[in-house]
């Protein structure tokens, strides 16, 4: 018999430190599958965040550098400006990208930095023990919303991707999930498109990925995968949010919308 599925080449042989059922490692795998398929493993530079994925460099066999919390887009900007031949991506949690990193993300996108952001939306601060994230659902309990997120005091789940879509330098934005075979495959496609937009020198690309966090949601893995489907996608509808890759030529002269 033929081996039809094997570990991607760009994925190091290390045991993931993530909790059982966590979405982070799926996204890691998809990234490395894309690197292998596009043959860009030796051009890619990744910027992982403080967050559960802080150790991403233990798994992805590419050049990587840690960034300060929320500053991925700024670090990637500096790196890409200094060395435009690289393919630079940030890997960021929802606390990282949508709270402390709001300004960096929006302005890097607006400048049309030729970088890609992989944005893991798990509706909580995973690493620090399950505090409210900007993306925490209304009434959802977290360690800092012990009585449920009260939208009157704590605000509403922030749809960061829709917001970023408003700036012209962002050329490709899609929201996917890693909670089913079909969604996982779509996520991979989206990641591929995002890197392609960067290779084509078009502008900023972002893939928001709804990702289960069974530990902080206090569910078993399967429940958490279902919760993504049943609850999260209601607030964060899956699908393409913006695609200006066709209307925009690579000189960037034409506007994206």
């Amino acid at each position: 018999m033929k081996k039809v599925y094997r570990r991607p080449k760009s994925l190091k042989r290390a045991a993931f430190h993530y909790c059982p059922g966590c979405g982070h490692s799926i996204v890691h795998r998809l990234l490395t599958e894309v690197f292998d398929e596009m043959n860009i493993q030796d051009k890619v530079i990744g910027i992982p965040p403080p967050g559960c994925s802080v150790f991403a460099y233990h798994y992805l066999d590419i050049d990587m550098a840690e960034s300060a919390h929320g500053r991925g887009a700024a670090v990637a900007t500096g790196l890409k400006r200094a060395y435009p031949d690289a393919l630079v991506f940030t890997y960021q949690g929802d606390g990282d990208l949508a709270a402390i990193g709001t300004a960096e993300t929006i302005h890097a996108a607006n400048r049309g930095e030729r970088i890609t952001s992989i944005f893991i939306n798990n509706a909580v601060y995973g690493m620090t023990g399950g505090q409210m994230a900007p993306t925490t659902l209304s009434n959802m309990k977290t360690t800092t919303t012990p009585y449920g997120r009260d939208t009157r005091l704590e605000g509403y789940p922030v749809r960061m991707s829709e917001m970023v879509a408003l700036v012209k330098g962002a050329v490709y934005i899609e929201r996917t999930a890693v909670n089913s075979p079909a969604n996982i495959k779509k996520t991979k496609k989206a990641i591929r498109k995002a890197f392609q937009a960067q290779i084509d020198d078009l502008g900023y690309s972002l893939v928001e990925i709804l990702s289960p966090c069974p530990t902080n949601w206090k569910m078993n893995p399967l429940e958490s995968w279902q919760w993504v489907e049943n609850e999260m996608t209601k607030e964060f509808p899956l699908g393409l949010i913006k695609d200006a890759t066709r209307t925009k030529d690579s000189t960037g002269k034409r506007d994206a919308d």
Partner: protein, 188 residues
């Protein structure tokens, strides 16, 4: 030489225990129970859980220090007692134990491959006994019972008092945990 002896002398008043196991095994509760019991027996106590990224791997541990005097450091680099509820904990902590110390092993799910002769290994089939009591979750209390008998650090009755306080409103839990404690205590 003299110096060394004196040091040991003073140290004898200070006992440090590490409880370690998987996330779900209730190792932090064991530490808390012991701490509260020791406190109510009028001792100086510190309790220090593992925290942060360490927790991510699915294992947990905590350190309890008990003394008649002020406690300098809540950290135990060479604990007097170690309670290993699973294999990785056994592997991680067995070499740190102080010479002459005690190592408690949840022998139901752990192979007692211990590589040193200067410590005493106490095998407690805690998970099995808890299973028998139809309460797999209280393996930790079985272990606590055994621990209290072997170490004499705190009285069994104090542990039971603490339990009553912890589960104030949940009478059923008090009973089952008390049973587990006693079962462990009566093992030796």
């Amino acid at each position: 030489m003299l110096l060394e002896q004196k040091t040991v002398l003073v140290k004898e008043m200070l006992i440090k225990t590490i409880f370690a196991g998987f996330g779900g095994q209730g190792v932090l509760s064991m530490g808390l129970n012991l701490s509260q019991a020791a406190m109510s027996e009028g001792k100086h106590v510190t309790y220090l859980p593992s925290y942060g990224a360490e927790v991510r791997g699915g294992t947990a541990n905590c350190t309890v220090a008990i003394s008649d005097e002020e406690i300098a450091s809540p950290v135990a680099s060479s604990p007097d007692f170690v309670v290993a509820m699973n294999q990785p904990s056994l592997v991680r902590f067995q070499n740190q134990i102080q010479s002459g110390g005690l190592l408690f092993i949840n022998s139901s799910i752990t192979e007692p491959v211990v590589s040193r002769g200067d410590i005493e290994v106490i095998e407690v089939p805690a998970s099995d006994i808890a299973e028998e009591l139809k309460s797999p979750k209280s393996a930790n209390m079985v272990m606590m019972g055994a621990f209290s008998k072997k170490t004499n650090l705190v009285l069994l009755s104090t542990l039971i008092e603490v339990l009553k306080n912890t589960f104030k409103t949940k009478k059923m839990l008090i009973d089952i945990n008390k049973k587990a404690l006693t079962a462990g205590y009566d093992l030796f």
